[in-house]
Each structure stands twice: as structure tokens, then as C-alpha cells.
Subunit: 199 residues, 2 copies
């Protein structure tokens, strides 16, 4: 079984590098696949290969796509004039699942992080500036995570875009829908209070 | 992105069927792979394909192998005369990792389970009987899980092998090494007490 073990161990190592899987769960997952070779393992291998070869980043917004320009950027149905800036494709998908934004997106590709030396040039900020001019954007909505990194990046981007004289907005912070005050951190409570609205 | 999404969603569904991954974690895992297409996704696809096509069940013991007979069954270094019966390839691997058994194995392929209608014929019990004769086995060690199903199956197999007049043994039950009585269930304590040894 030497060679089999070697391949299988290599497979387990690869699987163990997935988020949410450790060495033990990766082993279990691989064994599960090996037991269902025809119904799960080979289909998974095929699909991974197909997706891996067909999917690329949209040249315009950074979304995942099988063509150079993603369907969202290409769609004439999408509202123009606004760009929703997200950190990550995952965030774009989250917005799309919620179906709350009718316009087009821009994937920054992360947040500024001096420690991991991620600077402005490592993000797609220049590209964003180009798009604002090219697509006649009047508002940029910074839908970045409400984390320190996310908000720092949001402020940096906002300052960068200031000279362009367009509206730059960010998502509201406050009590999440269904949230109970008792369970909220003070930061959220402070934000919710300071940006309170008249009812 | 329509087609891309469709493939990606299909991929997420497949990944979500792995033990230890749910829909959300599968989504995260797939996104992680899509971000590391060349370093992780494609290698994983390739390796899955290779393993899926090369690995099969050992015709003798049921272990995973790239040849009809696995290396353990083929190895002349392995002790003869004893067979260690396990439920599952995972259990065989666990025994091998512990390096506690020098002989050969026999993978039952599960446990008896009338509810899921898994009967004796669905397990490799007939094959085991053949091997006992062919390999001149003097002892069968039933290393089945200490679960109700495992122990029921162990007793069934033991009764089946009785006529052959060979030694049939099972793993000892008791306090696990490093275990604290305070945290042990009463079943384990009862087993440990009833099969106590003089020191």
C-alpha cells in the first residue's frame, strides 16, 4: 500500500490546508471520498479541474468569472452610477445573496495591513479610480467589514477618492436586525447610539 | 457569472457532502481554493483524479491499495497466524499508526445493523472464514469499536467462528491510558472493574 498511502497522505495534507479542516477531519474527509469513489471523489476531481481551468478574475471588478468580464459587469440590467466596494469575492456573494444592491461591485482584494505589508498598491484602488472616471460613477459605497482593518481601509479609500468630488459612503453600523442589546459589544452599542435616528 | 456560479455552486454542494464540512464551510473552502487556483485547486484536482483512478480495495483484506493485493497482505515481514478484524479502513489505519499489531488485517466493511438492513452477507464474514482456512489462522482478534453495534457484531462473528475451533479474542475494555475516573462513563468503569487485574 506504500504508494497508495503516499498519494493518500499527500491528498490529506492538501485537504488539511482548507479552512475548517484540520489533519484529522481531512483524513476523515479523504476516507469518505475513497469509499465513494465513483459518486463523489471522481466527480469532485472533475469539477475542480473544470472550475480551476475555466474560472478567472473579472478584469473589471475582480469578481470570479468564466469570461474576462463577469456577468454582473456585463449585465445591462445593473444600475449604473454606483459602485459597491467589497474586500473580497465572498463579501460580493453575500451582498448578491441578500439581493440588496442593484449596481456593480469592485473587489478590493483585501485590506491595508502594514504588518503583512499589504499596501495601497496591493489592492485594486488605482483600478477603482479608473472605473469611477470611465463608468461616470457618482457614488462609491464602501461595504467593507466593520473590523479595524476594514474601517482603516475604508477611511484610506475615502480620503483617496476625495479629490474626485463624488459621494463616498459606508455601511451603517448599529444593532443587527434581531440583535439583543444584552449580547452586543459596547462598540456596537456606542455606534448605534451615536448614529441614532428619530422614529 | 451565471455559468461560473453554477459550476461553483455545484462544487460547493459536493464539498458540503464531506464529513466535517457544512454548506457555509464548504463555501469558504471553495473560495479559498479559487483564490489559490494554481497552488491548491489544480493540484488537489489532479491528485484526487490520480487517487480515484489508482486506489481500489485489497481483494484479500479490504484495505485500500493501488494493486489487487495490498502491501500489508503481500509483505512477508507480517506475522502469520493472526488476523485483526476491524470495521473500517480508518480503524486499520489507526492500528497501523499505533504500530501495535504485527499481523494482517481483515476489514469487515461496517457493523451489523438491522435498521439500515445491513446483514451478515453485507459484511466480509464469508471471506474471513475463507481466509482463516487458507492462511491457517489460529487466532482472530476482533478490534471492533466499543459501541453497541461494534460489540453486537463482534459477538455475532465470534459465534460464527466458534465451529472452526480457533481462538477468537476482543480488545480489552477499561480505563483509557491517561484517563481520569472522574470523567469516565459508568459503562467504562463497570468494564474496568469487572475485568480488573492483580498488580
Amino acid at each position: 500500500m506504500a504508494d497508495a498511502t503516499r498519494d493518500i497522505e499527500a491528498l490529506i495534507d492538501l485537504m488539511a490546508r482548507l479552512p475548517g479542516l484540520g489533519p484529522r477531519s481531512a483524513r476523515r474527509a479523504v476516507l469518505h471520498l475513497l469509499k465513494k469513489r465513483d459518486t463523489q471523489l471522481l466527480p469532485l476531481a472533475r469539477l475542480l479541474g473544470e472550475v480551476g481551468h475555466s474560472v478567472r478574475d473579472c478584469l473589471n471588478c475582480g469578481n470570479l468569472s468564466t469570461s474576462d468580464i463577469c456577468a454582473i459587469c456585463e449585465s445591462p440590467k445593473r444600475a449604473t452610477g454606483q459602485i459597491c466596494v467589497v474586500e473580497d469575492v465572498a463579501d460580493l456573494w453575500a451582498m448578491e445573496r441578500a439581493q440588496v444592491f442593484p449596481g456593480r461591485y469592485h473587489v478590493l482584494g483585501g485590506t491595508l495591513s502594514p504588518l503583512d505589508d499589504v499596501g495601497p498598491d496591493d489592492l485594486t484602488i488605482p483600478k477603482l479610480r479608473d472605473r469611477i472616471a470611465a463608468e461616470e460613477i457618482s457614488e462609491v459605497i464602501l461595504a467593507l467589514n466593520a473590523t479595524v482593518e476594514g474601517q482603516t481601509t475604508a477611511h484610506y479609500v475615502a480620503r483617496e477618492l476625495e479629490p474626485l468630488g463624488i459621494v463616498v459612503s459606508g455601511l451603517a453600523q448599529g444593532v443587527p436586525v434581531g440583535g439583543e442589546l444584552d449580547y452586543l459589544d459596547e462598540g456596537t452599542l456606542r455606534a448605534a447610539l451615536s448614529s441614532r435616528k428619530s422614529i
